[in-house]
């Protein structure tokens, strides 16, 4: 996978249009899931995905295979998602940490528990457990300090456990 991605990045860098489509197919699923844990609506996620790939396309000639393109792509996407979140939730934006407002999900207890987490906590949870991303990469993507990321994970786990165990 890594070798394949590296090859594709080289071709994108060389200006091959078709290679960008291949890059899309190699990275979009993971990106989609990451964004979903943060935004939790397909419509918003798709908007952000489009914006993120457009930005990646604009800098495609500057990409190099030594750099982790998926991390870079998700960093772009998370920033786009944050901006979108602020636009769509202008009043609650400052209280982003506590915002657990509505989503289209959710069936079952786990989904309900996820819904009760703040978007930022959800994002970190999704990146760490869902995408198996390292703490360092999460810090890089979100721009947060390691302690903050770990606190979010701890809080999210606690809350999830609480909801699952007690149903509240």
């Amino acid at each position: 996978m890594d070798d394949e991605l590296r090859t594709v990045v080289r071709r994108v860098h060389a200006g091959e249009e078709a290679a960008f489509d291949e890059l899309y197919h190699l990275t979009v699923r993971q990106l989609y899931r990451t964004l979903y844990t943060y935004l939790m609506t397909r419509e918003d996620v798709e908007d952000v995905v489009q914006e993120a790939y457009l930005k990646l396309y604009q800098v495609r000639r500057k990409l190099d295979d030594t750099r982790s393109v998926p991390v870079y792509l998700r960093t772009i996407a998370i920033n786009c998602a944050r901006r979108k979140f602020r636009r769509t939730h202008p009043v609650t934006a400052p209280a982003e940490e506590d915002d657990v407002s509505g989503t289209e999900l959710v069936k079952g207890v786990v989904r309900e528990a996820l819904q009760q987490l703040s978007p930022a906590d959800r994002l970190v949870m999704g990146l760490f457990y869902g995408d198996q991303t390292s703490i360092q990469d999460i810090c890089r993507m979100t721009g947060e300090k390691e302690g903050t990321v770990k606190s979010r994970l701890s809080r999210a786990r606690e809350r999830l456990r609480e909801v699952i165990d007690h149903g509240t």
């Binding site: 489509d21 899309y24 197919h25 979009v28 699923r29 989609y32 899931r33 979903y36 844990t37 397909r42 798709e46 995905v49 489009q50 914006e51 790939y53 457009l54 396309y57 604009q58 079952g108 786990v110 989904r111 996820l114 949870m125 999704g126 760490f128 457990y129 869902g130 198996q132 703490i135 770990k150 994970l153 786990r157 999830l160």
Partner: protein
């Protein structure tokens, strides 16, 4: 914290397993990219058009007056630079910057006045002066172009004055003003040689006699026609010598190199300080037309009389008419205070004028040509003339009928004749009548010795009143109080 916290991993994977991008998302991404490409293309096209327009405008503006009366772009840029320099100069000069610029550039007073009378700002005034000076055109022409609405850039182009010329002129002004203010002036005496023969020296007076004066190690001959001035008034070399005894004195000497390499002093301006002396020289250097800068609207004009009436005067080299009135004081070398009627065509005058509105009023007129007595050829100030001698003594005898007097200290006795041209003065150089002379008064007599040993009085100055015979004239014709001592000098 480990990823192998399987419970949560499994939980999330289970929940998110159905979360995957739809089939149409790739198309949407591609559409977005395509739309962006079109947008970027249009934007780049527009930017390119704007850039081309700017380049074309710049190119066009370099050759055509796209800025209307301000001219082409280079002309506008030149004007801006020139105006910036003029503004800076105006700030540097402080008070009366146009006048100071005019002085530094040696422009005439009328030129400066023309600018002062115009509605131009000080910055524009400086620029107008500089452009006129550099182009060789009259300031009136420059002002006309400006009042026609032309920008400085286009005016400079029309008059063939470059930005570099403006820069040079500004430097010249700056240097001249620095000298005037004493900046950069060394402690050395100032010596300049404006042309081959003329020389101006400023410095300490280190020696003086009736015929020579040494200033800043240069010795000048004092001729009869040499003018000596101290605070605007005439003075003699004897008075300079007396003042030198009291302390240091300085002078600016305008002289002429003679064929035998001696220096002849034409004008000696005695000052109390070196700065004043140097200032005199700067004024002289910066005003070759003898339009010396003086405070306010006053100035000094020198030249030959071309036209003179009872109320007006024209001097060669000074265009405006100079008004003469009852307040105008007139003096002439060899005669002291004289009437306006003494001013004749062809005489060389120094006139102190004051600009009142648009009229130049003569405050003081100094006739440099010596007064010539109508009935005698004797030059009363001809100290070097062997027949003219000076005596000091006490009046011993007064003979009213023949108007003779004798002095006690003069031995052998000399009979002094009061003649028609004799000048009788008191110690303050005020005229006195023969009838007021009394025996016992101390007097100094300058006179011409006649063949019979008597002398015609050229000038008699009463230096001190008598104590014993004050107010009592002995006009009996009997000589008394004869002295053994000769008072001849």
């Amino acid at each position: 914290m480990e990823h192998n916290d399987r419970e949560y991993t499994d939980m999330l994977n289970e929940e998110l397993k159905e979360v995957k991008p739809g089939a149409g998302l790739h198309s949407k991404v591609r559409d977005g990219i395509a739309r962006n490409a079109v947008h970027m293309h249009r934007r780049n096209t527009a930017l390119g058009a704007v850039a081309i327009a700017i380049v074309l405008t710049m190119g066009l503006s370099a050759v055509t007056p796209v800025f209307g009366r301000n001219g082409t772009l280079p002309q506008v840029i030149t004007a801006m630079a020139a105006e910036r320099q003029a503004k800076k100069m105006s700030k540097t000069l402080g008070t009366a910057p146009v006048q100071q610029t005019g002085t530094a550039l040696q422009t005439s007073v009328t030129t400066v006045q023309a600018i002062s009378d115009s509605a131009l700002s000080e910055t524009d005034g400086i620029l107008a002066l500089v452009i006129a000076e550099r182009s060789g055109k009259s300031v009136t022409e420059v002002l006309k172009l400006r009042t026609d609405g032309l920008g400085w850039g286009i005016i400079m182009a029309q008059l063939n004055v470059s930005g570099r010329d403006i820069g040079k002129a500004m430097s010249q002004v700056k240097k001249a003003v620095a000298v005037t203010k004493g900046q950069g002036a060394s402690s050395k005496p100032v010596v300049s040689n404006k042309d081959g023969n003329k020389i101006v020296v400023s410095g300490e007076i280190t020696g003086v006699s009736t015929t020579l004066i040494t200033v800043a190690a240069k010795t000048f001959v004092i001729a009869p026609e040499t003018q000596l001035k101290y605070h605007g008034k005439a003075m003699t070399s004897v008075e300079i010598a007396a003042k030198l005894l009291a302390g240091k004195l300085y002078a600016t000497v305008q002289g002429t190199k003679q064929a035998d390499t001696t220096l002849l002093a034409n004008l000696i301006i005695v000052q109390d300080t070196l700065e004043e002396a140097k200032q005199e020289q700067v004024d002289e250097q910066t005003n070759p037309s003898n339009e010396q800068a003086t405070p306010g609207n006053e100035q000094q004009v020198r030249g030959k009389v071309t036209v003179v009436t009872a109320t007006a005067l024209h001097i060669d080299g000074f265009a405006p008419e100079i008004i003469l009135n009852a307040d105008t004081k007139v003096e002439q070398v060899g005669a002291g205070s004289v009437d306006i009627a003494a001013i004749k065509v062809g005489q060389t005058l120094q006139v102190h004028v004051r600009l009142s509105g648009t009229v130049y009023l003569a405050q003081q007129v100094h006739i440099e040509d010596k007064y010539v007595k109508p009935d005698t050829a004797v030059d009363e100030d001809q100290q070097t003339n062997s027949s003219v001698t000076t005596w000091q003594g006490t009046i011993a005898t007064i003979i009213p009928q023949t108007q003779f007097i004798t002095l006690t200290e003069v031995n052998p006795p000399v009979i002094f004749h009061i003649i028609a041209t004799s000048v009788l003065q008191d110690a303050e150089h005020k005229s006195v009548a023969f009838a007021s002379l009394v025996v016992g008064q101390k007097v100094t007599i300058t006179g011409k010795v006649l063949a019979d040993g008597s002398a015609d009085i050229v000038k008699l100055i009463v230096t001190a009143e008598t104590g014993e015979n004050n107010g009592k004239s002995d006009k009996s014709g009997n000589g008394n109080d004869k002295s053994d001592n000769s008072g001849k000098h």
